[in-house]
Amino acid sequence: MKRWLLWFLFAPQFFLLAGLWRDLGLPPLDVGVLLCMFLAMFAQRSALPWLLLGAAAGRAIVDEAGLPVQLLVLGIPVAVLLPLRSWFFGQRWIWQAGAAALCAIAIPKLAGLFGRVFQQPSQSASLDLVSVIWAALLLPPLLSVLRWLPPLVAFEEEA
């Protein structure tokens, strides 16, 4: 129970912290990509739906589109990457960087697609190649640190 409380209390706030990070003039951090990677590669499978809900709710705070669109935008990359987890489980940096780049491209594209279909367009639908590069470079090391800290550590799947 405590781990869920921590997840819903703090995981959505990562999106706001990323805004602060960016306000300081630091390179952009896409928390949506970060959480997608955690869910797809390291999180307990049984906890995935509710972890996804917390992540999507956080993205709904900073993005114009509603919560159901965020569930699809973050959930589909997770659903695609999840079956590949056994291949990724070596946790090689190159896999993680590739997955981060893939998510950083897929998330804006999906946001654009669902924004058009469900009339909920948002600013996050624009693909920024610089952000893709930063995602591939920064997010794997950042995730490796965050995985040892709450609330992510409580949902890490045992090998």
Partner: protein
């Protein structure tokens, strides 16, 4: 084995994606869950915002507020002038106008109305308020559609106190209209204009001609089509109202061969999505027994009179250079409510539980806006357009717009002041957004400069009464 199967098929994840699709198809049922969940998550930023400082009171200079008031008044005056006095002086002799705001444009039926466009308007007046009005509804000298009566036809299930519905000419159930086109080489052709199909290239199509042979040789697009009077039929619109311009569908003339006209369509000059004001009409003889007609300017403010404005505080969310704000209001915040600060529309809100809301500023939003442009040059016609912000930086938004073809196609927007058009019941027309200019930009783009502020501040949330 079972564990392996569970791992291969994460049913919970797929179930959550299915749940998201259900939420999107049945938003009314799941919206309260979303409001409660996201609202609950926003309580922490709301608590933290208490340390961000005391919200500044709205503190625009009285001179600026007076300028804004003058601009809004000028907008109302020019809308009235072009929708009534300049546009339809003949009608004013026999009829009394009722200027109505448009609350929403709706698509009905599969694929919408003719040309795939919206085919119905919801007005800010009820059926009861417009009960003694004629059926035809105009904008300037353009016939738009027909006002419905409560309990009849398409409005059979609507009570008299519901917001009145107008079937546009491209609605599948709209009546056909007798019309005439004056040919450039002299003479005229009479015709019956009816709604086109949703897949057709224009909202209206010509159904019958009085001279099909001459019609088959009609190869020049852009000819104005106007109504003709049929005195023997009750409720027909007056003669001389403009329906639109012709669009020819067929094969162009080749060497040694004539052009082959397959169909003639009519393109109305106004985009239904962009309409913010329309005019219903009472016959003068009828109005002697009816209540005294309201002045057009009063009618224009009809919707404003139904509005309630709630006091609110706005805080920038981290990264708010991207235009996202947290709102705390002393009442519930409806989705799509306009947030106004110092008389300037900041953006629209997404309502959450606990009196909270999330606001996306106009430059940061990517939603489709209905807008009113008041040209800076005095005397120019106000433009009703739809637009979508395609890029923004430092409070300056690049807007991609579509508008009317009243003055011709491929027209560039003049520089002027941009106001909200009709964007639903909680975002009424006439809220100031910024200054728009189009020099040096492609024909379908304008640059809008908005007044951006930062830090915690007071604001007002507009809650319209148009949701009856």
């Amino acid at each position: 084995m079972n564990r392996q199967k569970r791992e291969a098929f994460p049913a919970g994840l797929y179930g959550m994606l299915l749940f998201a699709l259900c939420c999107l198809t049945l938003p009314g049922i799941f919206a309260p869950v979303e409001r409660a969940l996201v609202g609950g998550l926003c309580l922490l930023p709301r608590a933290v915002s208490a340390w961000a400082g005391i919200p500044a009171q709205a503190a625009a200079e009285p001179r600026l507020l007076a300028q804004l008031r003058d601009l809004t008044e000028d907008l109302h005056t020019r809308v009235r002038q072009y929708d009534l006095d300049v546009g339809a002086p003949e009608l004013l002799r026999d009829y009394t106008p009722v200027l109505c705001g448009v609350v929403a444009s709706e698509r009905r039926g599969r694929g919408g109305g003719g040309g795939g466009q919206p085919s119905e308007l919801r007005l800010d007046h009820s059926y009861a308020e417009l009960a003694d009005c004629c059926e035809f509804v105009t904008k300037g000298n353009v016939l738009l559609g027909f006002l419905q009566k409560a309990g009849r036809g398409e409005a059979a299930e609507d009570p008299p106190e519901a917001l009145a519905r107008v079937l546009l000419l491209n609605h599948a159930s709209a009546r056909s209209v007798a019309a005439v086109v004056n040919l450039p080489d002299g003479g005229s052709l009479r015709m019956v204009v009816k709604p086109a199909a949703a897949v057709d290239p224009a909202p209206l199509r010509v159904d019958l001609w009085d001279d099909p042979y001459r019609a088959a040789n009609l190869d020049r697009p852009g000819l104005p089509v106007t109504t003709i009077a049929l005195p023997s039929l009750p409720g027909e619109p007056p003669a001389g109202l403009w329906l639109g311009r012709t669009r020819i569908w067929g094969y162009e003339a080749a060497v040694g061969e004539d052009a082959l006209t397959i169909g003639v369509f009519v393109v109305p000059p106004f985009e239904p999505r962009a309409l913010s004001h329309v005019v219903a009409w009472r016959r003068r003889a009828d109005s002697q027994t009816a209540p005294a007609p309201e002045s057009p300017l009063v009618a224009l403010r009809h919707q404003a009179a139904l509005e309630v404005r709630h006091a609110a505080y706005v805080w920038d969310l981290p990264g708010a250079v991207h235009g996202r704000h947290l709102l705390s209001c002393d009442g519930p915040v409806p989705d799509g409510a306009a947030v106004v600060q110092d008389g300037i529309c900041l953006g629209t809100a997404r309502g959450l539980a606990f009196g909270l809301g999330l606001v996306t500023s106009f430059p940061a939003s990517r939603q489709r806006w209905n807008l009113l442009l008041l040209p800076q040059q005095p005397g120019l016609r106000p433009r009703e357009i739809t637009g979508q912000v395609v890029g923004s930086q430092n409070g300056i938004a690049i807007l991609q717009w579509r508008g009317d073809s009243f003055d011709g196609v491929d027209e560039r927007l003049p520089a002027g002041y941009l106001f909200t058009g009709s964007n639903g019941p909680h975002c009424p027309p006439g809220l100031f957004l910024g200054y728009a200019r189009s020099e040096g930009l492609p024909q379908d783009r304008v640059e809008v400069t908005t007044a951006s502020q930062s830090g915690p501040r007071t604001a007002e949330v507009v809650v319209g009464g148009g949701g009856r």
